[in-house]
């Protein structure tokens, strides 16, 4: 019987050039695919900058401070929309943070049976899955009509404040803020819950061990330890709120007339884009691109800040 050299049995012991080519090619392909992220980002930046430069040359910073938006006279100032973006998202955040963090505490601490907590968690997550346009539809036909008497009462009693100085007439900033609350609640809740769950159990045991009450432990030990994750989540939610388009567009009224009143119709950058981009041409497109650039910078700053805060605070507590 012939003795067989293993190299005869294993035809590929010496790798053929083809196999090496596939191996190398696959690596190159993955590098190429990974670099598409960078290309897309660059593309977005160049497209928006390129589209906006005409309006930037014409208006400069006046675009941000002026509140006239006149497609007929070709005069554009986006202050109303920028103001609307900031006010709606910040106020929505003020309402959503306590609600979201409270919910997160409620579903991570063992205050109630596990199955109820799991059901609540699942529901909040499913809420995040509902498309924004469906929430907008619901806001138009259900929430806003229900809300109007309440807002009218607010106007009656607190009308002397500039924020409630107009009579609610349907769409406006206030319903837009509330629908934004619904949209960002799931993010805040989900991230707060994850952060709370990552607090090491030893910390909690230590707190109980020195005789704190349950809420003493939550408020003084657990929440501070989870604060980096929660803050990051809040910032992400702020970014999301500023860029959120559909539900807001459908309920905010899309008015470019500036008003301090939250009961009056207003505008945000994204709803202005959604409303006008399809029908705009010429110089108006450039002005809209400029507005898009402002929105991009705002969200970019918020998102980068979010990552920075998370990194700094998690260093402090790790």
């Amino acid at each position: 019987m012939a003795v067989v050299d293993p190299s005869d049995l294993f035809a590929l012991r010496r790798r053929p050039a083809r196999e090496k080519l596939v191996d190398q090619g696959f690596r190159q392909l993955s590098v190429l695919l990974a670099s598409i992220v960078g290309l897309v980002l660059l593309g977005i930046l160049l497209t928006v900058l390129g589209g906006a430069h005409q309006a930037m040359a014409a208006f400069g910073l006046r675009f941000i401070t002026a509140s006239d938006w006149d497609p007929i006279a070709n005069h554009y100032g986006a202050f109303t929309a920028i103001y609307g973006t900031l006010v709606t998202s910040v106020l929505a955040l003020f309402i959503a943070v306590p609600l979201g963090v409270g919910t997160a505490i409620f579903i991570t601490e063992n205050l109630i049976p596990l199955w109820i907590r799991q059901a609540l968690g699942l529901m909040v997550e499913l809420l995040a899955a509902i498309p924004s346009v469906v929430l907008g539809l619901w806001a138009i036909f259900v929430m806003e009509p229900f809300l109007r008497p309440l807002l009218e009462a607010l106007h009656q009693s607190l009308g002397w404040l500039p924020f409630f100085s107009t009579n609610p007439q349907g769409p406006g900033m206030a319903p837009a803020i509330l629908i934004l609350v619904v949209m960002i609640l799931p993010i805040i809740t989900a991230i707060s819950r994850d952060s709370l769950q990552q607090v090491p159990p030893e910390l909690r045991q230590a707190a109980y061990g020195v005789g704190t009450t349950r809420w003493g432990a939550i408020l003084r030990v657990i929440l501070p330890a989870a604060v980096s994750g929660i803050t990051g989540g809040v910032m992400l939610a702020l970014g999301r709120a500023m860029g959120e388009t559909m539900a807001v567009t459908m309920i905010i009224g899309n008015s470019n007339n500036f008003s301090l009143s939250l009961l009056a119709p207003g505008n945000t950058i994204s709803s202005m884009l959604a409303n006008q981009f399809g029908e705009a041409d010429g110089f108006q497109v450039s002005a809209l691109m400029y507005a898009a650039l402002v929105l991009m910078l705002l969200t970019l700053v918020v998102n980068v800040l979010a990552q920075w805060i998370v990194r700094r605070l998690s260093l402090k507590y790790s």
């Binding site: 019987m1 012939a2 003795v3 050299d5 294993f10 035809a11 590929l12 012991r13 790798r15």
Partner: protein, 275 residues
Amino acid sequence: MTTTSMPTPSHLDQAGSEFCLELENVGISYGGNEAVRGVYMQIPRGKVTAFIGPSGCGKSTVLRALNRMNDLIEGCTIKGRVIFDGQDLYAPQVDPVEVRRRIGMVFQKPNPFPKSIYENIAFGARINGYRGDMDELVERSLRKAAIWDETKDKLKESGYALSGGQQQRLCIARAIAIEPEVILMDEPCSALDPISTLKIEEMMHELKKSYTIVIVTHNMQQAVRVSDMTGFFNVTPKADGDGKVGCLEEFAATETIFNAPTQQATQDYVSGRFG
């Protein structure tokens, strides 16, 4: 050639150096942190060579340098030469994948693929372009790894269905199925119970008839039981007093290392442990 009978690996009979692997002034660093330095070693063909030493002495690092597994660790760099088959394994034209096809490895933790027992063996053979009878190869490899009787009725079951010791023998079978010339074992028994350990040690006595084996072990009795040659690695403070670095203290026949070592450190280590 009419039959693919049990190939007596002809490389054992090959004329040439009696040494299978030669290390010349090998030094390894992780991202600028020197782990091992100045290793000279000639690993004989067809024998079992054991690496022993305290933890952190770099014995596993050196082992992984022998088939370029360290390539997978980012920031790992190697100095010196590792000669195999007359060639420096770290020469630029060498393909690390081909190196690993000829120098197989068994790891500390059993790591079967999430595939059937049969496929665990056949996978490696197939990517090595095996042209013979696959069923026969699977049976032969499992037999050599002394696990055929336990698995012959459930070759289609997942490799994860086996116990830890069986999984490790499956991994050994997987390594020998591709007929490497050398098998590197990185503490193959550290995660196993004594009975599984015994089975693997018995198997190694069989395997060394066909292969060169290099084994890292933290268990000195095991080194005595299975190896012909032993290398004792030690940690020494760096000359500049900045941290510690591993080095090869002594390399000799196992008997010599355990009964009449020339170095005091070796003497201390082997006797201290036996106490």
